[in-house]
Symmetry: C2
Subunit: 356 residues, 2 copies
């Protein structure tokens, strides 16, 4: 596993640097890239947020930093063991394990911060250091064969709920696949609709059920699928600022995770809908925009990730319309309408030819 | 599928009754069991909440009830079609579909209420009427072979996240299994710990990751597994009133779902921990009980589901101790401790012999 070797090498590097300072009777210190808002920069070429060059120094010569420095070493050592024995732990487990260290944590936030310091310093995501988020990722249905540990399986043959993306996405091997595209939808209701209408066969697509805001594991899986299967990715969410932004975080990453967006963002993914134009063209059942929706839309219009013409037009149109619509509102025309009519229309338009 | 035939027969029965009244020039009416708190009764023999005998009458002779009566017929008809064509819809989809009916709904709550009226009247759960909740159920890992539609799979061979219970639990066939027990845990963090430490092999158990409060699908799956595999079910949650109650809703059902508890409750399931006694015996890291915890514990002590000696003792002990502890706090003794030591101790005690 390449990413494990890399994580181990970088962890060792951090330790070696400190050791070397000690051996040369210098004061050990570590340079940590700043995660402050001033150092989170949108890169228009890469089309996602990343960290700038600003760095801070954590030094054993500064009495206020001694404890944090020691905690970094303890967490680094804990991670090295995890990766070595090929295990993982949740952040919460590590917090309890740290009770046995000489420099434990006062609270979970403190241990989260130190973990993030290490992620940023090494440029390695916590998952590859063996530290897992609590939650699993999205559901996946379609013709892709995966291998995880010693088990191989196809995501069309695991029952109606399909394959659930585990937190350890980089351990999965993409063995084989036969799909022309990937369609992610916001709700599990829509996911089950897609599965029931056999959208996976009719559009030769992977279907991904995001379950709202996409987990880190989901974002990493979509990125890997985009890179390794080399097919277009479409995201279909509710037609409101929250649905837009669930898609955008998959596409261009979040500011908070600027240090790992190079692994998580999928800048080539496209928003399929629901758009303000769809609301008009399909005469969808709507709700009025609330103040909080209007304010959020105005915020998005200023966000560098939304500066393209498509988004600027759709945001303005929605503000003018004063309406929003859910994915499931297509059911007005019958349960099958979204798969029979809407998806073929939209995908054909995006791909410039009729869907087969 | 027996439950589908049953659902269809009952839906037809409801329609026939109304039709017959019309043909005999009587005023059509339907008797609906009351869901008011006065009619929700704890049955100490069955060990769960069920509805009493109180019924209300909905009649076309009452001008205020005409719309609701018509809505019941429309929903009943929609469900009949769903079951016939072997499809399902979310409650949200039905709400949008109802835009095309002569008696649509003003809001989602109205359509939810009518659906519940039908569930209660027919004694059939909404899932078996083709109406699905949005969310999927728990994750399952272990040696059980299931069949869903035309696909057969084993829940040990689906990757690290295991099998995800779909909303349509009664469509699944339990083909084969080789387990001696079922252990459900509250968090996915603990689930992944169990999988990583191979608890499924060491305890010859199914491992179920509840993801907090168990979904209806999870409760139905656990009940079916308990009945059909004929093995004990253990639930291991956080040691606090919320963890207790997540277990209790699996064991004895909720008051709100009194009309379907006969299909959802698993009265023989046992709470494995974390108990107040465990906090003391294992010297676990704790947090102080907050006021809201104390109040909730006092409520539970009065609840008929908690009237047994085990619960009364443990609730009193926790109140006296003034402390609560999470599942993951066993990590104080190392990540493996809970599987190496705690589970074997507790299961042996419950089963009266050492775990193999």
């Amino acid at each position: 596993m390449k990413h494990k070797e890399e994580a181990l090498a970088k962890l060792r590097g951090m330790g070696d640097e400190v050791l070397e300072s000690v051996l040369h009777e210098n004061v050990p210190n570590i340079k940590i890239p700043s995660r402050g808002t001033g150092n989170i920069i949108y890169n228009p070429d890469k089309r996602y947020f990343e960290l700038g060059d600003r760095k801070g120094t954590r030094s054993l010569g500064n009495v206020k930093q001694i404890k944090k420095m020691a905690q970094m070493m303890c967490v680094g050592n804990f991670c090295k063991e995890l990766v070595n024995i090929q295990k993982t732990a949740t952040m919460r487990e590590m917090y309890y394990v740290s009770e046995g260290w000489d420099v434990g944590f006062d609270n979970q936030q403190e241990s989260n911060n130190i973990t993030e310091d290490i992620e940023v310093t090494l440029g390695v995501s916590r998952e590859n250091l063996g530290l897992l988020p609590e939650e699993d990722g999205a559901s996946v249905f379609g013709d892709i064969t995966l291998r995880d540990d010693d088990v191989e399986f196809n995501a069309k043959k695991l029952g109606k709920s399909g394959y659930t993306i585990p937190p350890t996405v980089d351990d999965i091997e993409f063995v084989d696949s036969n799909v022309d595209r990937i369609i992610a939808v916001e709700t599990m209701g829509m996911y089950h609709r897609m599965v029931q209408e056999k959208a996976y066969d009719r559009f030769n697509t992977l279907v991904i059920g995001l379950k709202g805001q996409a987990a880190r594991a989901t974002r990493r899986f979509i990125r890997r699928a985009s890179d390794e299967l080399n097919v277009p990715v479409y995201i279909c969410n509710d037609g409101d600022p929250w649905g837009f932004h669930i898609a955008m975080v998959i596409i261009s990453g979040s500011a908070k995770l600027a240090h790992v967006n190079h692994d998580l963002a999928t800048p080539d993914a496209k928003f399929l809908g629901v758009t303000a134009s769809d609301i008009i063209n399909y005469d969808l059942p709507t709700d009025d925009l609330k103040d909080v929706d209007v304010n959020r839309l105005k915020e998005l219009a200023q966000d560098p990730r939304y500066k393209g013409e498509f988004w600027q037009t759709e945001i303005k149109k929605m503000l003018k319309l004063g309406k929003k619509a859910e994915q499931q509102s297509f059911s007005k025309y019958g349960l099958e309408y979204i798969v029979d009519t809407y998806f073929p229309n939209k995908i054909s338009a995006l791909e410039g030819k009729p869907i087969e």
